[in-house]
């Protein structure tokens, strides 16, 4: 079962009983206007044809109305409580106890929620499609239920607050991985420099007592006249710590550096966890939040939940020097650190420098895709040029420290900018 599809309670949603607010419809108000105007003019001008003009409206207004239900049962639950960006889902709505009235459902969506075309209410149940355009913990909005009698003169209105859904960032495409030259001595999938029990052939050496006979290389033995043995690379895992810089949310909503940082982080987490690497996450926002490196599919969802967590509630360390004060478990020595950042926050830049000086292998993925907007006069253009030069200076100083930096626009696959570092092992420098 896909864990994202799991309902939090595991049971069908309970229908809540709500009391509709009844009122005269706008249609009824218009019919009353037509009837009254026609009758008044008929009396004043003594012209019976105006009574005829009022007659259909009067007939409709005096028609017998069905019983109004005191309460109706309403349940509204999304088909999945956890979604990815732009993933289609349905809001299952059930209305009961509405009698002979017709039911119209109107969704008033909140930020980033995009409702699809609403279907009719067949047998008291309806499925309203929607998707969420931006990651985060999103309230779906408000569901307005409108009851109308058969003459459409009386309206009963009910509003229901819809649940909150976790929308995970849509992972970018990434097939390849950056692998360090020095790996910790823990079994994994990456061939290391040291020989061991892996699958990748590294060479031939002379047999010594105690070696496994099944690894004897008979052609080499025949040529040299002494027993020769195949050697293989040991397969090791690596620790990967992803730093997602969520401190800057500038530009077009949906493709801001924050969105790109989260999508890139999700892609990296997915790619490394797929080869059984241990992946940790540090979210750099109003405060520093982290999860120590771990393994497995469940860990992926823990990482995603950390991205969505409210920084005001779950913040652990202040930004000033927060990452450098992380415990060793959260930032193990010898880890590969991937930083998804627009490098707009000077404190993060200083932190990255500090981590490099402490011997960590760092790779920065630059997700800056916006620049200050404003007027196009000379002074503004000059200010923008100075800003660009400052940004270039920051990136130059990081490269000078030996920190590789690649630019990612959020559209192309992450494999393309990372290609120079994924084709061969990345040398860990101390």
């Amino acid at each position: 079962m896909d864990p994202r599809r799991a309902q939090p309670t595991g049971t069908a949603p309970q229908a809540s009983q709500v009391r509709p607010v009844w009122s005269l419809s706008a249609h009824a108000a218009r019919l009353i206007t037509l009837a009254l105007t026609g009758l008044i003019i008929a009396v004043i001008t003594r012209r019976p044809e105006f009574v005829g003009v009022a007659a259909p409206a009067v007939l409709l207004l005096t028609a017998r109305r069905p019983e109004r239900p005191e309460r109706i049962g309403v349940s509204a639950s999304p088909s999945a409580m956890r979604l990815s960006e732009d993933e289609q889902a349905d809001l299952q709505v059930t209305v009961t106890g509405y009698g002979d009235h017709s039911v119209d459902l109107i969704v008033h969506p909140r930020f980033a929620v995009v409702p699809g075309a609403a279907g009719g209410l067949g047998d008291g149940a309806s499925s309203l499609p929607f998707h969420i355009g931006r990651s985060g913990r999103r309230s779906l909005g408000v569901l307005e239920i409108m009851l109308r009698d058969r003459w459409r003169l009386i309206e009963g209105r009910v509003t229901v607050e819809l649940p909150t859904v976790d929308c995970y960032p849509r992972p970018a495409a990434q097939q390849t991985r950056v692998v360090l030259s020095r790996l910790p001595s823990r079994l994994g999938d990456h061939p290391s420099r040291s020989s061991g029990e892996g699958m990748e052939f590294t060479g031939v050496r002379e047999f010594v007592p105690g070696d496994r006979q099944r690894r004897i290389n008979w052609p080499a033995t025949t040529r040299r006249g002494r027993l020769q043995l195949n050697t293989f690379a040991a397969e090791r895992t690596q620790n990967v710590v992803i730093i997602a810089d969520a401190s800057s949310d500038v530009g077009e909503p949906g493709s801001t550096p924050l969105d790109l940082a989260f999508r890139g982080s999700a892609a990296a987490a997915h790619a490394y966890l797929a080869v059984r690497d241990r992946v940790g996450l540090v979210v750099y926002q109003r405060s520093v939040r982290w999860i120590a490196p771990g393994l497995g599919a469940r860990h992926y969802y823990r990482l995603m939940d950390l991205m969505l967590a409210d920084p005001r509630v779950t913040g652990r360390l202040s930004l000033a020097g927060g990452i450098t004060r992380l415990p060793r478990a959260a930032l193990p020595s010898g880890s590969l650190i991937l930083v998804f950042s627009p490098l707009l926050d000077r404190r993060l830049v200083e932190t990255v420098r500090d981590l490099r000086e402490r011997g960590f292998s760092i790779l920065i993925i630059d997700v800056l895709n916006a620049e200050p907007s404003g007027r196009t006069d000379g002074l503004s253009s000059l200010a923008r040029r100075i800003w660009r030069m400052e940004q270039e200076a920051i990136r130059f100083s990081l490269r000078e420290l030996g920190i590789p930096l690649v630019r990612w626009d959020g559209v192309q696959s992450l494999d393309e900018p990372l290609a120079p570092y994924t084709r061969r092992v990345m040398v860990s420098r101390r």
Partner: protein
């Protein structure tokens, strides 16, 4: 698509009602003012249907021009322009000399306009009016009877009185049949 079709129908019917009630054009301050009011109400009523519901996003971060446009649109949404159209058109019709069949057609067109406006507002299909069809038919029958009664000359003697009584009886019967529905 259904709502757009209903909104177009409502706009066309409003224009037709205004034109029908204004012809023949009579010179005079009140008539011209009423005609202007009717045109304004019809145009704003159509604009209200075209604007649809108010967008949910806050206006706090919009520039002043867009914010002013949003305020005007909200004003168009709040005021009852369709009711204004009905009143202005009927008063405009009453300003003309007696012509019952003309008024009868205007009444039918106004009723259609109100239904089209309702369908456009609620984005409902015309089939939702099916339960009302007998009542609407009865109402149109009453309208036709009233127009017929008005067409009769005042001094036709006993035949005219008989027809008027029959019309009244028919009206009562039709109303009696329609009410229990």
């Amino acid at each position: 698509m259904t709502a757009a079709r209903s909104a177009s129908a409502a706009g066309l019917l409003a224009a037709a009602c205004v034109a029908w009630s204004a012809i023949p054009l009579t010179a005079g301050g009140a008539g011209t003012a009423l005609l202007a009011a009717a045109i304004a109400c019809a145009v704003l009523s159509a604009a209200r249907l075209a604007l649809g519901a108010s967008p949910a996003e806050p206006v706090a971060f919009l520039n002043p021009v867009v914010r002013a446009g949003r305020t005007l649109a909200d004003l168009a949404r709040v005021l009852p322009w369709a009711e204004g159209t009905v009143v202005a058109v009927l008063v405009l019709e009453a300003l003309h000399r007696s012509r019952p069949w003309h008024t009868g057609l205007l009444g039918a067109a106004l009723l259609a306009y109100l239904f089209a406006t309702h369908l456009a507002e609620t984005r409902a299909r015309p089939s939702v009016l099916r339960p009302q069809a007998p009542l609407i038919a009865a109402g149109v029958g009453l309208l036709a009877l009233a127009v017929g009664a008005a067409t009769l000359p005042a001094g036709t003697g006993s035949t005219g009185a008989l027809i008027a009584v029959l019309a009244a009886l028919a009206a009562i019967v039709v109303a009696g049949l329609a009410l229990p529905l």
